[in-house]
């Protein structure tokens, strides 16, 4: 069955996705990018350029480079938006019947035709990527688009050779990408801060529809405004430092713009970034370097007003929907600017709950359109719902540490096994303590059950091999089996409902793990240090026993003293002291070990020589060598 494209035809950028194997997936364009600038141009040679190439020549060909055409689609010539664009856009907008046309080169095109050119490119690139013909599509439009604008968008699709199966609202698509269409009876807010526009919508999810209750926004607020604020700050700082205005130098300004964008992106994850553009310009005193540190705090101070500006449309949309902010159950973030921590924090503070941003905000609308396409082509069928384990499960190991066998969020059915050993010599039983939770230490987690595997053959510590297998079946029932690999003896425990925890319980346990993360980490480190100390003491004592009279009384005494010293500190909380004592013991033990080794070698050499040096000794491993025979 032919694929149906999900298309987010944006004001600044467009994005295309399809459903593959039941999952929505973004398709890269021919240039290898996941979004395509919504720009069309005709160059001097009469060649039509769409997307990135159109953007690259915009500076030199402003009159014939068309962008933000979405603002004009389906509009009447008299509309205020058209009048405004006529003043600010570098291209010429003329009347065509009731509507508008735009001049590009020596021809006039309707906004539908221009949009069709973009759609045509998206279609062709998708076909090339998929290796199959695309005939149908779902195109998204802003929720506030009226019938004329929707009809015009549909026409654009048809001019591009696509049968437009549906025109869906962008906020609805974003909600679909998160699967929120199943949240019947809930109210969802979609906060869309894109490159050039800000849209906010309140959605009401009912049995079979997602209704847009209200919309609001600011058609001229977006990422570009944020970039401008940063660029202005850089220019101003440089002027303060060097007394030079970089804005008058086109090439320097280009570097400042690139640096500002990079800084903005970096500050979404880092607390500060360095803007480093050496040799940006020069004066009579020589070259000048642009080196500035921009902190996230400074960036937030610069952008504070812009972010606050988004809250008024949010409040207005809530008012129009007749809802209080507490009635909103989910907030969906759309648009690249929502990656900015300040934006997320502001929204979170306003609503008192975390917004959803796990799906790439640049792609979420196209992905949602693809989900809708999948429903139409029948690929997204809830035939089989696979569950996941809400919390990790594992067992308690030496020192009270929880060793996780199946991590949380693993799709079930799943199974995993690991081999463990004993902690003491001649240990013939092991207790398998099954735990659930995210804490590092066993004590902080929930005990699901425990059993004893007995009858292990007597052996030094670390020798017996006990395989522990965890298996969670599709019903969430956990089976834990312990098997002694030497004797083949095994024991099993079955735990019902290991996945059937209430949401509140799962949340509580996850929160506890987060809250205690530091203290748990320390406890785990302590247990690890103690385990290491135990092993050191055990091996050193064994070595002394094996050494017999190969070492002097003094050497023996030295190791024994170090062992006593380590024993004295090993159960304390003092990591450093444990490490120091363990290192000291290790050093002495190594010296003694080396001596024993030398003594063994000397004993070997005193035996009659069996062979010449060139020949390897019989008992030693022989390095295999062969020569290639040349004919």
């Amino acid at each position: 069955m032919a694929k149906i494209l999900g298309i987010d035809l944006g004001t600044t950028n467009s994005c295309v996705a399809i459903i593959e194997g039941g999952q929505p997936k973004v398709l890269e364009n021919k240039e290898g990018a996941r979004t395509t600038p919504s720009m069309v141009a005709v160059n001097k040679a009469g060649e039509r350029l769409i997307g990135l190439p159109a953007k690259r020549q915009a500076v030199t060909n402003p009159k014939s480079t068309l962008f933000s055409i979405k603002r004009l689609i389906g509009r009447r010539f008299e509309d205020a938006e058209v009048t405004r664009d006529q003043k600010v856009m570098p291209y010429e907008i003329v009347r065509r019947g009731e509507g508008v046309a735009i001049k590009m080169g020596d021809k006039e095109h309707t906004p539908e035709e221009i949009s069709a050119m973009i759609l045509q490119k998206l279609k062709t690139d998708a076909e090339e990527k998929l290796g199959e013909k695309i005939e149908e599509a779902i195109i998204t439009v802003p929720a506030y688009f009226n019938d004329a604008q929707r009809a015009a968008t549909k026409t654009a699709g048809e001019i591009a050779g696509l049968k437009v199966r549906r025109i869906i609202n962008e906020p609805t698509a974003a909600a679909l990408a998160y699967g929120f269409d199943k949240k019947i009876g809930q109210q969802i807010m979609v906060y869309d801060l894109g490159g050039g526009t800000f849209d906010v919508s309140v959605l009401d999810v009912s049995e079979d529809t997602v209704e847009v209750k209200s919309t609001n926004g600011d058609t001229h607020l977006g990422g570009d405004d944020f970039d401008r604020v940063i660029i202005d700050w850089i220019l101003e700082e440089f002027k303060k430092q060097e007394g030079i205005n970089l804005a008058t130098d086109a090439l320097a300004l280009q570097r400042v713009k690139d640096a500002a964008e990079r800084a903005k992106i970096e500050l979404s994850t880092a607390a500060q970034t360095e803007i480093n553009q050496p040799f940006i310009t020069s004066d009579a005193n020589g070259p000048k370097h642009l080196v500035l540190t921009l902190t996230r705090a400074k960036l937030e101070e610069l952008c504070y007003d812009l972010v606050q500006k988004t809250l008024n449309p949010v409040k207005a949309a809530l008012k129009d929907a007749g809802l209080d902010k507490s009635a909103i159950q989910e907030i969906v973030m759309v648009g690249g600017m929502t990656r900015m921590p300040l934006v997320q924090k502001t929204v979170e503070e306003f609503f008192g709950k975390k917004p959803n941003i796990t799906v790439n905000p640049d792609e979420v609308v196209a992905l949602g359109a693809a989900v809708q396409a999948g429903v139409l082509q029948g690929e997204v069928k809830d035939v089989l719902l696979l569950d996941v384990t809400p919390l990790s499960v594992g067992i308690e190991t030496l020192g009270g540490v929880m060793t996780k066998l199946i991590e949380r969020n693993t799709t079930i059915p799943a199974s995993k096994s690991q081999v463990f050993s004993t902690a003491a010599d001649n240990q013939t039983t092991v207790e398998i303590h099954v735990l659930q939770g995210e804490r590092e230490m066993a004590g902080g987690n929930k005990t699901l059950g425990r059993f004893i595997l007995s009858g292990l053959p007597m052996a030094p510590r670390g020798v017996p091999q006990v395989e522990v297998k965890f298996d969670i079946d599709a019903n969430g029932i956990l089976h834990v089996t312990g098997t002694d690999k030497a004797s083949g003896k095994s024991q099993t425990i079955t735990i019902q409902g290991s996945t059937g925890l209430s949401d509140a319980e799962v949340e509580r346990m996850k929160k506890e793990a987060e809250e205690h993360a530091d203290e748990d980490k320390k406890a785990k480190e302590r247990a690890e240090h103690q385990n290491l100390a135990d092993t050191m003491i055990y091996t050193s004592e064994k070595m002394l026993k094996d050494a017999g009279d190969k070492i002097t009384a003094d050497e023996r005494k030295e190791v024994e003293e170090k062992i006593t010293a380590l024993k004295a500190v090993k159960d304390t909380d003092d990591h450093k002291a444990i490490k120091k004592a363990a290192d000291a013991l290790s050093e002495s033990a190594q010296k003694v070990g080396a001596k024993m080794y030398q003594a063994d070698q000397a004993a070997g050499q005193s035996q009659p020589e069996q062979s010449s040096q060139d020949e390897p000794q019989k008992d030693e491993p022989i390095d295999a060598e062969f020569e290639e025979k040349k004919e």
């Binding site: 194997g21 240039e31 290898g32 141009a41 160059n43 001097k44 350029l49 190439p53 159109a54 690259r56 020549q57 915009a58 500076v59 030199t60 060909n61 086109a250 090439l251 280009q254 553009q277 050496p278 040799f279 940006i280 020069s282 020589g286 070259p287 035939v383 089989l384």
Partner: protein
């Protein structure tokens, strides 16, 4: 007689029910088998996708690393543009050494599979170049690249970064 008939019809009904039940079970079995096969096929395809993706990720990682190194190389080039006219012999030797470091960096980029492009004097091509600014120089042809502000880089056929150029526009 009528009793026998009613027993027969009950028997028939039972058999019919059983047949329907069996058919339902068969179709369920079929559905489950299909689902199972699909899951196995999906898994198999996923493994193939992973192999392909790994190759793509490696190429992308090279490209990302390249992009970061290109910025450093750009600054070397930028520095070279500002080289003072009159310098002592010691400083000149030192500068020459520094420029060897630049060559080394360019070699690393080429080893990563990146190739530079973009020269003044050629015609502007929006698929390869980005116009950063324009001037008008009547003695030169329209749309000619007057200055390469930042060289372009490609990896195979893919443009990793377009060359940023100043072009000649005779129509301004």
């Amino acid at each position: 007689m009528s009793d026998e008939q009613s027993i027969d019809s009950t028997q028939e009904e039972l058999e019919q029910k059983e047949a329907i039940q069996k058919e339902e079970e068969c179709s369920k079995c079929e559905e489950y088998l299909m689902g199972w096969k699909r899951a196995l096929a999906d898994y198999d395809n996923l493994k193939k996708d992973l192999v392909r993706e790994r190759v793509e990720i490696r190429a992308r990682a090279r490209e990302d690393l390249g992009q970061q190194l290109i910025a450093v190389l750009d600054n070397f080039d930028q520095a070279a543009k500002f080289q003072p006219q009159e310098v002592s012999k010691e400083v000149q030797t030192w500068l020459t050494g520094l420029m060897y470091v630049r060559v080394q960096l360019e070699t690393v980029l080429q080893e990563l599979g990146l190739e530079p492009f973009g020269e003044a004097g050629t015609l502007f091509n929006a698929h390869l170049h980005e116009a950063a600014a324009q001037r008008s120089e009547p003695e030169k042809s329209d749309q000619e690249i007057l200055e390469v502000f930042q060289r372009g880089w490609k990896m195979g056929d893919k443009i990793v970064r377009p060359a940023k150029v100043v072009i000649n526009n005779l129509h301004t």
